[in-house]
Subunit: 240 residues, 2 copies
Amino acid sequence: MLNKQSPLPMYYQIEEDIKKRIAKQEFLPGESIPSERALTEMYDVSRMTVRQAVNNLVQEGLLYREKGKGTFIAEAKMEQSLSGLTSFTEDMKRRGLKPGNKLLSFEVKEAGSPLAKKLGMEADERVYEVRRVRLADDVPMALETTYIPYGLMPELTEEHIQQSFYAYVEALGFTIGRAEQAIEAALADEYQAEALEIPLHAALLGIERLTFTTDGRPFELVQSAYRADRYKFLAEIHRN
Amino acid sequence: MLNKQSPLPMYYQIEEDIKKRIAKQEFLPGESIPSERALTEMYDVSRMTVRQAVNNLVQEGLLYREKGKGTFIAEAKMEQSLSGLTSFTEDMKRRGLKPGNKLLSFEVKEAGSPLAKKLGMEADERVYEVRRVRLADDVPMALETTYIPYGLMPELTEEHIQQSFYAYVEALGFTIGRAEQAIEAALADEYQAEALEIPLHAALLGIERLTFTTDGRPFELVQSAYRADRYKFLAEIHRN
DNA sequence: TGTGTATGCTGGTATAGACAACTATATGCC
DNA sequence: GGCATATAGTTGTCTATACCAGCATACACA
């Protein structure tokens, strides 16, 4: 069942196996999975290892525990992984749309005061400024401006941005951690209306996202304006 | 340092102690905390117990680990607990505003098909429908409609809703788990414009929230329309 | 009939130890 | 000086075991 020689940790293999069984409906929502002691025998590992696997699945929301009773399958989620930090591209694919891109500009300029404050840098330091129209099934979906501190990655090119910026960031040795998002509603001005092919004063969903590495350094500020008629922002939140 | 007789688990006491030290700036952002083995000696517990405490703090985002190097203090967050499931009241208090309430209606009616589907009930079952204007510093902030399955809590009154609905739900023995939120932009119609004291076709932020108990049953659907000129939705998200 | 109580299940907490994988520093050699 | 290598320290994974606390059921007794 498990491969003890694999470089993948045992608890991870157990997680994957349980996930697979849930997907295959071997375990159904509301039912309990085998007890920790039973899993210990099934997988021939210690109970602590089983607990580490089950804990991770509880954390993900796939399972929930009840002391004295057992561990149960949670109800299926409305959409796969509503939460989580994803790119526009991933987001659109998940919605079953074909993501696209139109680069409007790619420049390096002085940050200026408000931007510098958000990105944790000095006002006279430089940032990349990338403007794009984001397409879904070839229709304009959002107008997006991305700011990245020049000092963090002086080798950045248009190609990196157009392919997978997050992969590039991680290749540089940074680890992407969390992001803070502010979401607001607004009305389209002339420039936005033209770029997004919508009427003047149509409703827009504005999203500003500041993304941090795991050690807490901001490395990206994205300001987006989504067409309200075509986009809904989905999020999943937890108590505590 | 720790109380081994306390009913509070040791790992929890260790968590609290580390939190306190971070708050007291004994440990500063970017610095490492003592190694797991050092903490083992400091608290006179086993290393697994230390790891359980540290893991929880990593989960909360207060610390981050680097293999082979150590465990470090994360940067302070922009706002306390941006994520997390909170009520309008808590939300407004955190923003430094005085929350208020104007009840428009409180009825029990048949759910109807689309609502029933979201709440996981039959179309001919009944729901509470509560309409309110939510105030912040005595100014209208949002128009809110809440739907609750009648069968789940047949004793519900206006008072419960107006005081602390979540506290009432938990007193009934339910445990509040997660919520799914959809956020979109819209323009104010006549009814909304009047209730919120804004111009017709002003921008609104629409939030629909479906809240679940830990065993996966939906117990509340809230549809809100926030004034875009006064409200921004803040969220924190994590990679994976 | 009903009501304690014993029993055996569940997850929750905790110990002590082991080895692996990774990182930084110091050491010695060329 | 520069470069490989040893070494000590870190987190990551895993074992085997123990006892506690909550829950459900069966059973004996009043």
